[in-house]
């Protein structure tokens, strides 16, 4: 039996539906520029029809429209791609930024750099070789050496600073991950409540997606959302969030209404160690184990790889996962070799006092502690400049020749034409260099029974005395009582053609690494842009489209209002016109 006022009810439903649709359009327009907003689509459906019996037949008549659902226009596949590319881009961006900072510290190709200080140092020795009797030239050598040492200290300190700031970044990021986990879990609970009640919490979902987007900059994320099958008549989802490497199982951060945390890293001592580790916290299936972050994904991974902790090939630390430690190690090597080689050449020389063993020129063994020997600073006359007299400048010349190669080093351990080692003779009592009976300064086969040779190992430690005449060797460090001469062992030199070359090579290596980071980041920028555009084409609000929708719904609303007027008129006829007898 048809109801009289069903038409009005139908129109009322139409008006309501169109009005809701208009409201939604207005909401979309209002949020056109809101970050992370997904446009909402109104899903208008006809209401359940009525079946009437009409003249003995069944007739199904429509009863109006209603808003079935308001949907979010989101594509989870594009989301996943966007987050993946963002993780990669942020990795290269973090790497590029830090490496550029290191480049800035080194400050090439200006004039205030380590290579300049090194060049000036060698030149000062060249000046000293010309006039070893000139106190001014000696003072200049000491000054330049002090400046060189200071530059080493400065570089090492700044690199350490960068390491520490990377470490504090890592700690902040661990904290952020934990906070995100908690926030996402809270949103999950709220969303679940709404879904169970049959609602569709679009704005809450938008918030959750925005948080996951932010998290994807720090680490790689993977969202697994599945339908909860216990609810049959409404759509309730189970939301799981995994972080880190996709190939490692169980790296779950948020498990629907439960969240896990990363372990709070141990506090750093005054020397900055120990560095923070990224480890799963308690209660997690992988509790206590390191978080596998995957390759080139996320800022956290970039910071960890750059920071490293030490550069020790034995323990698996290498340039790839301890970059700053590697660079520090290179400068340490450079400083150590400068100390070793300059000292070795210097120890063969004679200073004005005629010391048999002049004091070492440098002390220290790495970039942080290389220094000029205070004895030399107090008395520059102690600098050994000559081979036979202090005034011949030969040792100073050899040290200054280190600027172009290792010729001075290999000549420490001189050889004669037969390949025998040559020894320099000194009278052990006076320290004066003495000539052999044949009138030579250097002899290859010490004869005449007055020479036992002090034998050193590489450190150098005295290990015994060798009599070249009868080939006997007396181990131990006390002299068996004869005259002896000292033999200098040539130290190993760097794997480059000179000190300057080693440094240049390190700079070039850094430059290449930065170029790679810049290129990769540039490539990722393009990809991320593309993904963003693709995502926007789904979730973005197009004002043109909303304007069109406005007109559509407005017209429909106006038409529905018209229907109300017409029905009203008809009913008026019935109510006021029918059955009234005049």
């Amino acid at each position: 039996m048809r109801s009289t006022f069903s038409g009005l009810e139908l129109s009322k439903r139409a008006l309501q539906a169109q009005q809701t649709a208009l409201n939604t359009t207005g909401h979309n327009i209002a949020n056109a520029n809101s970050a992370g907003y997904t446009r909402q689509l109104v899903n208008l459906q006809p209401t359940t029809p009525l079946t009437l019996s009409n003249m003995g037949r069944n007739l199904t008549v429509g009863t109006g429209s209603y808003v079935a659902t308001i949907e979010r226009a989101r594509d989870i596949f594009v989301d996943r791609q966007f987050r993946w590319e963002t993780s990669k881009q942020q990795y290269w961006l973090a790497r590029e930024t830090t490496l550029s900072k290191i480049e800035g510290i080194l400050n090439e190709p200006t004039n205030n750099t380590l290579s300049n200080d090194l060049t000036n140092f060698w030149n000062a020795w060249s000046d000293l070789a010309k006039s070893p009797e000139n106190l001014g030239a000696r003072a200049v050598v000491v000054e330049r050496a002090a400046i060189l040492a200071d530059t080493f200290h400065n570089l090492d300190q700044q690199l350490t600073e960068i390491q520490r700031s990377l470490d504090s970044n890592v700690r902040v990021q661990i904290n952020q991950i934990n906070i995100y986990a908690k926030q996402i879990q809270e949103l999950n609970i709220q969303i679940k409540r709404a879904e169970v009640a049959g609602d569709n919490p679009n704005d809450l979902r938008d918030k959750r997606d925005a948080l996951v987007d932010e998290l994807s900059e720090i680490v790689n994320v993977r969202v697994v959302e599945s339908r909860d099958t216990t609810f049959k008549d409404r759509e309730v989802n189970i939301y799981k969030l995994y972080i880190g490497d996709d190939n490692t199982l169980d790296q779950i951060l948020v498990d629907d209404t439960m969240y896990y945390q990363l372990k709070e890293p141990a506090a750093a001592g005054p020397d900055g160690l120990p560095f923070a580790e990224v480890i799963w916290g308690e209660g997690h299936p992988l509790a206590g184990k390191k978080v596998e972050l995957g390759e080139t994904l996320g800022r956290l991974k970039a910071n960890l790889l750059l920071r490293g902790s030490n550069y020790d090939l034995q323990t698996g630390e290498s340039k790839d996962n301890a970059y700053i430690a590697y660079i520090r190690n290179q400068f340490d090597e450079l400083a150590k070799k400068i100390v070793e080689i300059v000292n070795a050449i210097h120890s063969q020389g004679i200073n004005r006092d005629g010391d048999l063993t002049p004091p070492n020129f440098f002390i220290g063994d790495e970039a942080a502690n290389i220094r000029v020997n205070p004895d030399i600073i107090n008395d520059p006359w102690k600098i050994a400049t000559g081979e036979k007299y202090f005034g011949d400048g030969a040792i100073a010349q050899k040290i200054s020749a280190l600027s172009s190669g290792w010729a001075s080093v290999s000549s420490i351990y001189l050889k004669d034409e037969n390949g025998n080692n040559l020894f320099m003779l000194r009278d052990p009592d006076t320290g004066e260099p003495v000539k052999d009976v044949s009138g030579e300064w250097f002899v290859s086969d010490p004869a005449n029974g007055h020479l036992l040779i002090k034998t050193y190992d590489k450190d150098p430690n005295l290990i015994g005395y060798y009599n070249p005449e009868d080939g006997t060797f007396v181990p131990g460090s006390t002299s068996p009582g004869s005259n002896y001469i000292a033999v200098a062992f040539a130290p190993e030199f760097l794997p480059a053609t000179s000190f300057g070359d080693f440094y240049n090579g390190a700079i070039a290596e850094l430059g290449v690494d930065i170029q790679q980071a810049t290129r990769m980041r540039g490539g990722q920028d393009v990809l991320v842009n593309q993904m963003y555009n693709q995502r926007q084409s789904d979730i973005g609000v197009s004002l043109d489209e909303e304007m069109t929708n406005l007109i559509r719904f407005q017209k429909a609303y106006a038409a529905a209002a018209r229907v109300v007027t017409v029905l009203d008129d008809m009913l008026d006829k019935i109510v006021n016109g029918m059955g009234i007898t005049r």
């Binding site: 056109a32 490496l99 550029s100 480049e103 800035g104 080194l106 090439e108 190709p109 290579s115 300049n116 090194l118 060049t119 000036n120 060249s126 000046d127 070789a129 010309k130 006039s131 070893p132 009797e133 000139n134 000559g386 036979k388 007299y389 005034g391 011949d392 400048g393 030969a394 010349q397 020749a401 600027s403 172009s404 300057g500 070359d501 440094y503 240049n504 700079i507 070039a508 290596e509 850094l510 430059g511 290449v512 930065i514 170029q515 810049t518 842009n529 963003y532 555009n533 693709q534 926007q536 084409s537 789904d538 973005g540 609000v541 197009s542 004002l543 043109d544 304007m547 069109t548 007109i551």
Partner: protein, 299 residues
């Protein structure tokens, strides 16, 4: 693909940013004058540039050393010229004294002058340039101090570094030039001074035979000085050649460095202007595209 306003706006910003980045890089090159402002711009070129720079610094150092060495050699040459003159004067006086027409009194006067010439030679032996005694060898002390009679200089010659493995001598062997020998009792005998001393004695004693011997000895000394001067001449030539060579090397290296490191202003300016045009075009077109929407056309 569905395009929204956001997509247009973001695209425009991204492209503008890229154009500006290129402009920033070019501007940096212009204002600093360097093609490469940091190693990552071009690592290989940077490595070359660093190498050139340090080599140029060393070559300049050697060049300065060579110039200084030339000065010393010239001084040595001049001093030996003076020694030659002194010896020639002594020879003149000896000839005069050997002439039979000179009497004893005159001979004594000549002897006094010979004594003074000997003093002059002893002073010339101690010639100094700055802090260096040029005839003292590497033992840089006064070779023949006044009042003593020992030659303190050493038997070798001071060298200056003018290459990475090259040191050239900047003087002559003082001992060789003056004829220094060790006596059995530890004193030293200087032949050149001894010759004049012998001459003086011969004049005072009017010893004819000794006079003739002295004349021959002075001739021998003159020849020796000539020899040594020839040596210095050769050393000077070599030092000159090295100096010239280093000069050329420095010039070449500077040119390479300039090519590698310094920006060609004209080229960079043209690039900058082009980029500016691109940027302006992007701005103009972008402004046109992102403004209109359906709202403008609806009542």
């Amino acid at each position: 693909m569905r395009i929204t306003n956001n997509v247009l706006a973001r695209s425009l910003l991204y492209n503008l940013n890229n154009a500006q980045q290129t402009m920033y890089k070019l501007e940096n090159q212009l204002s600093s004058g360097l093609k490469i402002t940091k190693p990552s711009d071009n690592p290989v070129a940077m490595e070359n540039a660093l190498r050139y720079k340090s080599t140029i610094a060393h070559v300049n150092q050697w060049k300065a050393n060579a110039a200084e060495g030339l000065a010393y050699l010239e001084t040595a040459d001049d001093t030996m010229a003076t020694i030659s003159d002194v010896l020639k004067r002594a020879k003149e006086l000896a000839l005069q004294g050997a002439n039979g027409s000179v009497n004893e009194k005159d001979r004594e006067k000549i002897a006094i002058e010979i004594g003074q010439l000997k003093e002059q030679l002893m002073e010339l032996a101690n010639t100094r340039v700055g802090n260096k005694y040029i005839f003292a060898g590497t033992k840089n002390v006064e070779p023949y101090p006044k009042g003593g009679n020992t030659w303190l200089g050493s038997d070798d010659i001071m060298k200056f570094p003018v290459g990475s493995a090259l040191s050239l001598e900047i003087s002559v062997n003082g001992r060789g030039l003056f004829g220094v020998t060790e006596e059995a009792d530890g004193t030293t005998k200087v032949e050149m001074f001894q010759v004049l001393e012998d001459l003086k004695l011969a004049l005072e004693n009017s010893d004819e035979g000794a006079l003739q011997q002295s004349l021959a000895a002075i001739d021998a000394q003159l020849d020796k000085v000539l020899d040594y001067r020839a040596q210095v001449g050769a050393k000077q030539n070599r030092m000159e050649a090295i100096h010239q060579q280093l000069d050329d090397t420095a010039a070449n290296l500077s040119e390479f460095l300039a090519e590698t490191l310094y920006a060609d202003v004209a080229e960079v300016l043209v690039k900058f202007k082009t980029q500016e045009n691109v940027y302006n075009a992007a701005l103009a077109v972008g402004a046109q595209i992102i403004q209109p929407s359906l709202v403008d056309f609806m009542r």
